[in-house]
């Protein structure tokens, strides 16, 4: 989230789309209720189903799954055509004025540089035009036909309300009401928050859905202000923290990058990422990348990281490509993988195309499940009839099920979706023989290192180079690990005058203290300060809120730098004055930036220095145009899901996302609308958490079995009664469950034709206390978003039919 849960109360318009906060984040949703009750805020919900958020909304607009880009582009067009934008914000705080290269082109849905054989773009023409001074060229009047603003007007002009109705199935009047409410906030007086979740990300063009949201908020001036922002609600309790800490294929903690094999030296890696400012006077904060990187290397390799060996850079594994979960299971399916360790992860349920996943798991030599509970994955080899049809005798995989402590049996810091790091204290002892993740991984690592020391082996230097100098190597303490996350001075740190500003051994107060000469460590710069010299800030529990704006600045610690609203310099105009009294937040008081939050800016830089408010960007401003930073285009274009009930009605030549990665076999596993005319989409239930709580008695009592939501019209067409058992199948697999015939879903009219959609709750499986069900992802396809490789779980094709069985 750019903002926070408690900040939602400052919104005048709340827009929920691609998420269902009332169902999936009920206790966070109370801040929407608060905004409605206390400010008279309006809530609008756009979703294929009239869901639980819609039930309490002031306006609901239906949309066919997978057509979000057209809907959102329609809103962008509405804002531009009707001149309902926050002009000074757009002119000064976005790259609307930047001039794009003359050779950039856009034709029939494709941008210049497309190579069909490689399914990728050469993105060089998507760059700005640079002047003789080396800086990007701009036209602050926004009139130049090649400036981003004019390109945008042209690009989005075709997304009319009529087109939105034809493609997305949203009645024109319902769409226009959404657009009008968005426009009501484009003035610095009112704010709109956008709340989304996996309903936006789980598409083959998911990242472009989020781009659209960011563009809308920038056009309205809703970024950096209270009650604004683009807010990802996020699913797991620490998915924010566990992503921050770099447990993704190409990541290093704090959003630094793992080296690629082209970056043969530390210097070649750093040179690519230490971005120089693209316009005069800018901060371009990533210029500090090397300080963060070297500090990380000092935490990873300790005394083995020296200036002479590039701080251990070459001990790190180097990438020859990325290995996200879809790729992982494709390699496994090809028989190329020996072992899989699942730490609190149930991939047989969670990964697309479960039948492919099961076949892949059966080819492993070993599988380790570290989990408090038994998972379907740990028992993938067990026959559960139609729900998990497999012959155990034929599965040669060795399986280990290791008991891990539950959340209440350990202490540590956890980061919520507002980026607030909070402490959990240990409540109880480990259940039976369970151990913490830290203990299990330490045991494994120490054991393996001993084997290498004793017997030798491949890659011995790399494994022994890792710093494991914990007081008790088998039990590193939470305190020791937290200290590494924060960082400390390794020698006395001196300022320019030679005065010691941080003594050796002391923890750092902020990432501003990090150095690139090996005199500091700290593996995750964005968290630095959360365990600073004054103590453990994650444990702070002062719930006072002097400004009344829901800031809670002394509760826990929000990364980075305890900042609660990101980009908050943009809450003031270029002169440093609040855009309006109503939205007053951070402002220049004549001497420094002040207000209830930590400024997202150098606190003493005066407004007349014209340093842009987006200090992480080399431009100093935000991006309506993303240059070459996204794989599928500098602007969003309408792309259909890979399985869709219609061709692309905007750009007929496009099939799915033209640059999405498609593995052999996955294209053949796609169905057509002839055989599978119905759109399927998956979602959570409020009574369940993913695939955990089907093993929990109370939850199983509340929601005991899998069901399928469908419209009365579809039920009539197929001869299905409410409560009747039905079969749902796609080209890849099938599931069976009861039909819930409901008015919450209505057929769509797409290009004049009736299109049905069914809703499929994802929380069931064959292990636990709920009634057995096949994995929902038996239905879904293993094709993902071209930028993030997030699987397309939210829009695919199925068919349904009634089957014999009692009608409940």
């Amino acid at each position: 989230m750019t903002n926070s849960w408690t900040d939602i109360k400052n919104a005048d318009v709340v827009w929920i789309m691609g998420g269902n906060a009332a169902e999936a984040h009920p206790c966070g949703f109370k801040w929407v209720t608060e905004a409605k009750a206390e400010r008279g805020a309006k809530l609008m919900v756009v979703d294929p189903r009239f869901n639980r958020s819609a039930a309490v909304a002031d306006h609901y607009a239906p949309i066919r799954s997978g057509s979000d880009i057209t809907f959102l582009s329609g809103v962008i067009n509405y804002l531009l055509t009707n001149d309902k934008i926050h002009k000074e914000y757009v002119r000064n705080f976005t790259n609307a004025a930047f001039i794009v290269r003359d050779d950039f082109e856009f034709n029939e849905g494709l941008f210049s540089g497309y190579d069909e054989s490689k399914r990728s773009y050469d993105r060089s023409t998507w760059e700005y035009k640079f002047g003789p001074d080396g800086f990007a060229m701009r036209d602050m009047t926004l009139q130049d036909p090649r400036c981003v603003f004019q390109l945008m007007k042209k690009h989005f002009a075709q997304y009319t309300p009529e087109l939105v109705e034809r493609v997305s199935g949203t009645p024109k009047d319902k769409f226009l009401k959404v657009a009008d409410w968005v426009a009501s906030t484009a003035n610095g007086e009112r704010a709109m928050t956008i709340m989304y979740a996996l309903g936006w990300t789980q598409h083959s063009h998911g990242a472009q859905n989020i781009r659209c949201a960011a563009m809308i908020q920038l056009l309205c001036g809703n970024i950096g202000i209270p009650g604004g922002g683009v807010n990802a609600l996020r699913g797991h309790s620490n998915v924010q923290g566990i992503t921050d800490v770099g447990t993704l294929t190409a990541a290093i903690p704090g959003y630094l990058a793992l080296p690629t094999e082209q970056e043969t030296t530390l210097e070649s890696h750093l040179a690519k990422r230490t971005f120089k400012p693209l316009t005069p006077n800018q901060t371009s904060y990533w210029q500090n990348y090397r300080k963060f990187y070297v500090s990380f290397l000092k935490s990873q390799f300790g005394a083995n990281a020296t200036k002479e060996n590039e701080f251990g850079y070459n001990y790190l594994p180097k990438l020859d490509g990325i290995y996200d979960c879809i790729k992982m299971f494709d390699l496994m399916h090809q028989g190329k993988t020996t072992g899989l360790i699942c730490q609190g992860f149930n991939p047989l349920m969670a990964i697309p195309n479960s039948n492919k996943s099961r076949e892949g798991l059966a080819k492993l030599k070993f599988l380790v499940s570290m989990d408090p509970i038994e998972t379907d994955t740990a028992r993938f080899w067990e026959n559960h009839g139609e729900f998990n049809n497999i012959d155990p005798a034929k599965v040669q995989t060795e399986v280990f099920m290791l008991p891990v402590t539950s959340f209440a049996e350990e202490e540590g810091s956890v980061t919520n979706s507002s980026r607030v790091i909070q402490w959990k204290w240990k409540a109880a002892d480990p259940y039976f023989e369970s151990r913490t993740d830290i203990e299990i991984l330490s045991d494994l690592f120490v054991r393996m290192r001993k084997m290498y020391e004793k017997d030798g082996g491949k890659g011995k230097d790399a494994i022994l180079a890792v710093d494991w100098s914990y007081k008790d190597p088998l039990h590193p303490t939470v305190d020791e690990l937290q200290t590494e996350l924060n960082g400390k001075a390794l020698t006395d740190l001196k300022d320019a005058e030679g005065k010691v500003v941080r003594a050796a051994g002391q923890r750092l107060a902020s990432f501003g203290e990090m150095r690139d000469d090996g005199s500091t460590d700290g593996c995750m710069w964005i968290y630095t300060g959360f365990y600073g010299p004054t103590g453990n800030m994650a444990q702070r529990r002062d719930n006072s809120d002097p400004s009344g704006l829901g800031v809670y600045g002394n509760w826990g610690f929000a990364w980075p730098a305890n900042r609660r609203i990101q980009y908050n310099r943009a809450s003031a105009d270029p002169d440093g004055k609040p855009w309006s009294e109503k939205k007053k937040y951070m402002f220049w008081n004549g001497e420094r930036w002040s207000g209830p939050d930590v400024p997202d800016y150098v606190p003493t830089i005066p407004p007349d220095r014209a340093v842009g408010p987006f200090i992480m960007n080399a431009e100093g401003v935000s991006r309506l145009w993303v240059r070459g930073l996204m794989a599928d285009g500098p602007f969003p274009v309408h792309m259909e899901p890979f399985e869709s009930p219609t061709g692309n009605l905007v750009f007929p030549k496009l099939k799915g996302n033209p640059v999405a990665r498609v593995f052999k076999g996955d294209l053949e596993a796609l169905g057509t609308s002839k055989d599978f005319p119905i759109v399927g989409t998956t979602y959570r239930l409020t009574e369940h958490f993913h695939y955990w709580t089907k093993t929990v008695h109370a939850n199983a009592v509340m929601q005991p079995e899998f069901f399928v939501e469908m419209s009365e019209e579809l039920a009539k067409e197929k001869g299905i009664k409410h409560g009747q058992r039905i079969r749902v199948w796609s080209k890849r697999g099938e599931v069976k469950g009861k039909a819930v015939v409901t008015k919450r879903l209505k057929p769509f009219k797409i290009d004049g034709k009736t299109v049905h959609e069914v809703g499929l709750p994802l929380n069931f499986g064959f292990i636990g206390e709920t009634k057995k069900a096949s994995p929902i992802n038996s239905l879904t396809s293993a094709i993902g978003d071209s930028n993030s490789q997030t699987p397309e779980f939210k829009a695919f094709l199925v068919n349904v039919e009634p089957i014999a069985g009692p009608v409940a």
């Binding site: 966070g28 008991p403 980061t415 607030v420 996350l485 109370a698 636990g768």
Partner: protein
């Protein structure tokens, strides 16, 4: 900090005050003591309270978790009650249907109690010791790492990678455990690493 004066210590204080004034003043002496023995103390008074947070979605609602000596495992503390943390600025004491029932997750019948091992081709798990499990896993991993380690690529660049074992990191692990996970998995040279951010 308001948690210093916990609900438990407040109630203990209040209870002692009551016994000292009303009953004591009436002079019932031994009867009073005998009576006191028949009264069950407040359940809360016997528990240890900590502040924690909900393990489910990323709202991370504050929780008050109460624990007492386990009835199942002697000498250990077990969770006896969970409720919303009234001091927490986001959830203000509320919990959703999942969070309110989180104690059932801790006590789920599906909790794994001991390291379990399934042999190739077998139709069941057997209980094993931690030492057996960890030694076997370490051996399997070393065998695979030694067999498939890539020290240099075709261009002679040092790449130090191990591509044939994969690690799925859990998005409910705390940050400190997350860092240990990173350090170990990268230290081994793994590139097949993923968490639940995408799914």
């Amino acid at each position: 900090m308001n948690m210093e004066l916990s609900r438990r210590s407040f109630m203990l204080g209040a209870g002692a005050g009551l016994a000292g004034t009303s009953l004591g003043a009436l002079g019932f002496g031994e009867i009073e003591a005998a009576h006191a023995l028949t009264i069950r103390p407040f359940k809360l008074a016997q528990t240890k309270e900590v502040r924690s947070q909900c393990p489910y979605c990323a709202v991370c609602c504050g929780m008050m978790i109460f624990a007492a000596e386990s009835k199942v495992e002697k000498g250990k503390m077990e969770v006896t009650h969970i409720e919303g943390d009234v001091d927490h600025p986001v959830n203000r004491g509320t919990l959703c249907p999942k969070g309110a029932g989180a104690i059932d997750y801790i006590k789920s019948k599906s909790r794994v109690k001991y390291p379990m091992y399934r042999k190739p081709g077998s139709n069941g798990f057997e209980r094993v010791s931690w030492d057996f499990a960890m030694e076997r896993i370490a051996k399997l991993m070393k065998e695979d790492r030694d067999a498939n380690w890539v020290e240099k690529n075709r261009d002679g660049v040092t790449v130090n990678r191990w591509l044939t074992t994969a690690f799925l990191a859990g998005s409910s692990v705390a940050n400190e455990g997350g860092w240990a996970t990173f350090k170990v998995s990268r230290g081994l040279g793994l590139l097949q690493i993923e968490n639940q951010a995408r799914i």
